[in-house]
């Protein structure tokens, strides 16, 4: 019974190699779906679907308050209620500041005159490219918007559990990251062998343990003289290091051009397929 799993890929900081792993792993597999949940700065498309901006998109909407000035009595209950300073009362008119509005609906509820209604505003977009072996979805947050979580929630509705699912998560330990990894069977944390890498790895692991999320580590830019920084720590904590992608100028140059290295370096396709099998075994335990 070939049960497919969903995998999230994470790092403590941007630039560690999350995209590198997500993209190359997705290209090494068959019947796979890659979702780029790094909605503030999605980058996977550069390697998978460079023309994705030309594809159709689905809007992700949110609700913004609208005040009917005829009904408004300038009582200020809405202004005083808002926790985010998204409303102000100037010269007896309500001003709305959309970017800091959290769409909680509170102002509408507290208004004693039913003077507040809500209108839809585009928060972000979902784009899709169905390639022969790879189903690619990208979530993006519109500039000036701050609330990534609703975009990631909508992106997750596109997950197809009949496929091998890979979610490229936003870096760090904030709410969007947590949203991206929740409901995935397993998480891979990408790190690098340096004091920065170790520090950020520990930070992420603390979060994963709080969430009781199963995980393992992949070391990117691995080098013989410094891998111990990560490996020693992982050994102490009983954490598996499943793969090491070596520090390689060639891989870095290919990345700079937007070329996935699995397409150019022969033996990596098999290595990544093996990685996936190992992850799947761990996840199904």
């Amino acid at each position: 019974m070939a049960e497919e799993i969903s995998l999230s890929i994470l790092s403590g900081k941007g630039g560690t190699g999350k995209t590198t792993l997500a993209v190359n792993l997705a290209l090494a597999l068959e019947n796979v779906q890659l979702l780029d949940a790094d909605v503030e700065e999605p980058n996977d498309y550069i390697f998978i679907s460079p023309e994705i901006e030309s594809k159709e998109f689905e809007s992700v909407m949110r609700l913004i308050p609208e005040v009917n000035d005829d009904k408004c009595t300038a009582c200020r209950k809405c202004v005083d209620f808002c926790e985010y300073n998204a409303l102000a009362m100037m010269l007896d008119k309500v001003l709305i500041f959309e970017e800091v509005c959290h769409s909680c609906g509170g102002c509408k509820i507290v208004c004693p005159e039913a003077a507040i209604t809500e209108k839809e505003k585009e928060l972000g977009k979902l784009r899709h490219d169905a390639l022969p072996n790879l189903d690619f979805w990208q979530g993006e947050l519109n500039t000036k918007e701050e609330k990534a979580v609703p975009v990631i929630e909508k992106l997750k509705t596109k997950v197809d559990r009949d496929k091998k699912v890979i979610i490229d998560s936003p870096p760090g330990t904030t709410c969007p990251t947590i949203e991206a990894i929740t409901d995935t069977n397993f998480t891979i944390v990408v790190t690098e062998p340096s004091p920065f890498g170790l520090h950020d790895l520990k930070m992420v692991i603390e979060m994963l343990n709080d969430l009781e999320q199963p995980f393992a580590v992949v070391i990117n830019r691995a080098e013989a003289d410094s891998d111990y920084l990560i490996e020693n720590y992982c050994q102490e904590e009983g954490i598996k290091v499943m793969l090491k992608i070596p520090f390689s100028r060639q891989i870095a140059e290919l990345y700079s051009e937007g070329i996935p290295f699995v397409q150019k370096l022969a033996d990596w396709e098999e290595k990544l397929q093996q990685l996936y099998q190992e992850i799947r075994e761990e996840a199904l335990k």
Binding site: Y84, N85, A86, A88, M90, F97, E99, V100
Partner: protein, 124 residues
């Protein structure tokens, strides 16, 4: 032109006097100095808007409007603060090198302060 009692507001680093330093930010200023330009009297109001996580500029603008500000002079206005103050009919002035409140006040009286333009991200 008649003599109008104007309330001039300047962000301050602390509750003090005319010798107190100007805060380099409007929304997150610690206090606001309110000067009655008719009597030269000065009073300080705590900036409670700085408590909130976001939209400090808006909250600060609301506070100034509620306290009867006519003019606000500051180093930096975010686009929301600028929009809010303008909507309230409050004049918005730019500061450049002034360090102390009294320097701002004397420059204001000499007509040396220019009107501010909309701040960062001001195209919404």
């Amino acid at each position: 032109m008649g003599v109008l009692k104007m309330r001039l507001v300047i962000p301050a680093v602390a509750e003090g006097t005319m010798e107190t330093e100007v805060h380099d930010n409007f929304g997150r200023a610690t206090y606001f100095a309110f000067i009655n330009t008719d009597t030269d009297q000065i009073e300080f109001v705590k900036n409670t808007a700085a408590q909130k996580n976001s939209g400090a500029g808006v909250g600060a603008a609301q506070l100034c409007a509620d306290q009867g500000a006519d003019i606000v002079a500051a180093y930096h206005f975010g686009p929301k603060a600028y929009q809010a103050l303008s909507a309230a009919g409050i004049k918005v002035l730019d500061l450049n090198e002034q360090k102390l409140i009294k320097e701002v006040y004397s420059d204001y009286q000499a007509g040396k302060l220019a009107e501010a333009e909309a701040g960062p991200g001001g195209n919404h």
